[in-house]
Symmetry: C2
Subunit: 237 residues, 2 copies
Amino acid sequence: MSVEREISPRTIERLSLYRRLLLPHHEGEDSYIFSHDLAELAGVTATQVRRDFMQLGCMGVPRTGYRIGELLSGISGILDAPAGQRAALVGVGHLGAALLNHFSGRWRWLHIHAAFDRDPDKAGSVIHGCHCFPMSELSTLIRERKIDLGIITVPRDHAQEVANQLIEAGVQGLLNFAPIRLRHGDDIYVENVDLTSAFETVAYFARCRRPSLFISESHRGFPSLDDRKLRGDDVKS
Amino acid sequence: MSVEREISPRTIERLSLYRRLLLPHHEGEDSYIFSHDLAELAGVTATQVRRDFMQLGCMGVPRTGYRIGELLSGISGILDAPAGQRAALVGVGHLGAALLNHFSGRWRWLHIHAAFDRDPDKAGSVIHGCHCFPMSELSTLIRERKIDLGIITVPRDHAQEVANQLIEAGVQGLLNFAPIRLRHGDDIYVENVDLTSAFETVAYFARCRRPSLFISESHRGFPSLDDRKLRGDDVKS
DNA sequence: ATTCATTCGTGAAAGAAATAACGATTGAAA
DNA sequence: TTTCAATCGTTATTTCTTTCACGAATGAAT
């Protein structure tokens, strides 16, 4: 139970999604769900769902499904640190403030504990329930308050420097919204949220979906076959 | 040149990144860059960079590198629609407004043309340079103004309905920030930006990076070997 | 001119991730 | 009780992506 195999990022992301999708279905201890129903909600195949839960150690029962409560605690056992985790957000611009709002008070075990901004006017203020401090206090506060995650929402040209400061102060992971790739050691985990790439990617594939421009081969879509063809579900091919 | 092989989403995302990283290096017609230098900036291997450019049709020259101007126009040839593309953003909350600000006036060929919100107070206002309209005008405006992309920043419980309206009105692609997976036909491309998953994923792997808790096998990191070992670069293994 | 270390392009190999396939199990219906 | 269709767990397969490896090309140094 202590030394387990590391789970792949893709799986972790799906587990996070499953949990959100399951929560509204968790009514009482006797709620169950089938792999293909969750698969539909999550936009993946039923096989994928079963495989993910297998990795989690959650067993389902044929013709009954998976006990939702068991799934939820299984997922929490993986995703949530028992002692909780704290994040610091650096760069309280429009995006930073929006994230403070988005994440504020959403979870007990994972929350944004402090925000930092270069602008002295923002220091001392409380934005969406989060205290904002000047950059000069970053190192000290991160160390003192045992903050182990950093969220970077500063402009491009300051991102690397901020990352260095955060890492120096001891954070283990970074969520980076700046449009670059940060340099960092192997002991730091960095997740990039690249809004520009996302937007341009949608634009590209939206164009490709116009028939006759490209040879469409439906990748990354939801073929959604697997077992459900046996049940005679509506499969529009 | 007209019917080409569709490029994979991963590659498209990298091309978008390459372009941003190259732009500051494009000084004059005679700027060149080596695959391994761009690789370092992008946090990928040199081989990957060369592969991507091969797919693009851009050839480099040994001991000289790739002409940056050629790369940029090659990438633009793939990513940018000659006629331009317009997006509509639905849900002008904190996140929506931040995105309006983030994307406003950033590109000629791809921009957010209109915003929509349920709140009547917002209708008629201009937010970060973008006109905001009531939901009732969504269908008409999207059709009239030939908007082909949708950005969804509404709360979870409204996301599917908004997606339906956008699709009904004719958009080809969606950029979804709501924490669910949207149901949609195969002819629509949907890119999910899952902030919660991203946050929870960082939290998980930040914990894992503490030695001795997991068998670290460095996936998704930058092994960064390839040719550079031949050049004797500093490879800290 | 010749040599040589570098860098490129790309086929082959490896690795990762998703899907298909199928025996085993189970609850429900006859 | 028996039958049966539905669902599960898991192995095998496929598909996709990345990396390796190496011959070819090229500019610079001598």
